[in-house]
Symmetry: C2
Subunit: 347 residues, 2 copies
Amino acid sequence: MQWKVLGLVAVALSISGATAMADESNLRIAIHGGAGTILRENLTPELEQAYRAKLEEALRAGYTVLTSGGTAVEAVQEAIVTMEDSPLFNAGKGAVFTHHKTNEMDASIMEGATLNAGAAAGVSTVRNPIRLAAAVMTQSSHVMLSGKGAEQFAASVGLQIVDPAYFWTERRWQQLLEVQKNDPQASVLSEHESDRAAVVPGGTRWPDDNKFGTVGAVALDKHGNLAAGTSTGGMTNKKYGRIGDSPVIGAGTYADNSAGAISATGHGEFFIRAAVAHDICARTLYRGVSLQKAADEVIMDKLVKMGGEGGIVGLDPAGNVVFSFNSTGMYRGFIDSTGKAHTAIFR
Amino acid sequence: MQWKVLGLVAVALSISGATAMADESNLRIAIHGGAGTILRENLTPELEQAYRAKLEEALRAGYTVLTSGGTAVEAVQEAIVTMEDSPLFNAGKGAVFTHHKTNEMDASIMEGATLNAGAAAGVSTVRNPIRLAAAVMTQSSHVMLSGKGAEQFAASVGLQIVDPAYFWTERRWQQLLEVQKNDPQASVLSEHESDRAAVVPGGTRWPDDNKFGTVGAVALDKHGNLAAGTSTGGMTNKKYGRIGDSPVIGAGTYADNSAGAISATGHGEFFIRAAVAHDICARTLYRGVSLQKAADEVIMDKLVKMGGEGGIVGLDPAGNVVFSFNSTGMYRGFIDSTGKAHTAIFR
């Protein structure tokens, strides 16, 4: 599940010209835009192109931070903000609706050098939840804030607050109506229900990312520091203030310079129970296996046995990009050592 | 930090009489009632006796479940409910106040055989948050619920709902006023502030458990299954919907039959960043060290270097009881293989 990453070939100068820094080949960013039952027959060529273009835009946004000398934490934020501001992904602007017809978003971020972390759960008025997670990390003494309190904190540190209506999109609204029509009590979609929800009235066919359409990024900066971040709208029709794995440090997000950086996407309940992001790092740290092998053990074996669908994107301290997912597809991409962007969706 | 646990001496019959089951020597329960700057000079003999008596009562409540053939999950609940119903501990009845003069409680529980887990964050009307965590685990498709939604779920499954005033206690109220008088903006107490807060006007001196007074339990049942649970009122004067480690699976609570069961108490932000409960299990699982050694590595070394104060109670699959804490004290206790209860507070 891993693209062959080019070695530390010193071709960065030939691509970026005279302003390139000598160590650009060590910079790396990788992202995901959610995993799920993403089938080629459910994705028109136009929509596939739109996803790929937005993934590349997100990669470029993060990579530009890195080549400008910015930190991995900053790069992760910029990549995720690009996806949060797009209606294509289940995060920020494109967040799914809850059972109560609201949008409640979660996000987290972690810095591998310090194990500093920040997270927010259940916010409805913060345009970019990943920026809130970062502000919690750097401007509060806490790691995890929730609900109205988290929104008050966001306002207090000057983050952009929007009317909740900003998050209304026709696609997500129709998905909610479709799910509630079929099962008004459902707060988790069965496979069958999510298949029905994938066809929006009017004929537009969308891939099944109303369950697992979380976005995430991992980055390695010029200081050799790793970071990981994750942002999501959660599950369509969720209720009871459900919190998934995305804002849970150790489940949806973990970064430790001595092991790796991981951002997950999938059926959050399973990812919390398996402590996916931390478990992958722990296997690497304590057993000496590669981050790719550790990720495959957790995603392709442990989670499969538990019945948990989804995947991760990761980076090890040497800049090796890791993808692992047990679903039929995962929106994903990375920038290699030459500065070239790669994107993919299907297995 | 570990009491010498008696081996599997078959003396259970001589203690419990004819109704005792043959495998009682394999049953085990251990608890904590919070860690912190608990100094002998801050605890009157009467108060020390009250804490020890309540710890033993909690141990007996859990152990009775085990000797009656109940599960580790049930035993953990009963032990924790006993502490939640006491004003002595920062959980349930004795929960500390938030900045906004409310009580917002968190709890989680996990079953080692299945990795099933449940958690609730920020509830103000549920008498026993640990029962809510258990209900989330067994009666919902989710792992983590929060705020008003979690309270609605609690009511929907018939848990006892109380007026928020139920959680008002003079001691916690005075602690809040003291903290806010000294620093109305503080949402985390410094060591200095917490020392001041430890003296309640009127002369009653309480130990410093307004920061770390979480309660927790771990148990091993007749099926050889482990469970862990944790419940807390969080930090005095907390704001912004702060969530600590107690409801975070992997941080405050983790149980895996192949590794151990852990419940943590301490400065939650550090426990989340270090993924304390899961990290202890992972070190045992992947490096083969004992749960005690793994716990000491995390609590006495890793956390100390990070600046994180607190401790854990744990049980390994063979029933060995583990305590590890880097604070001056931790309310704690366990029942050994002969059915005898042991309690302690200071180092």
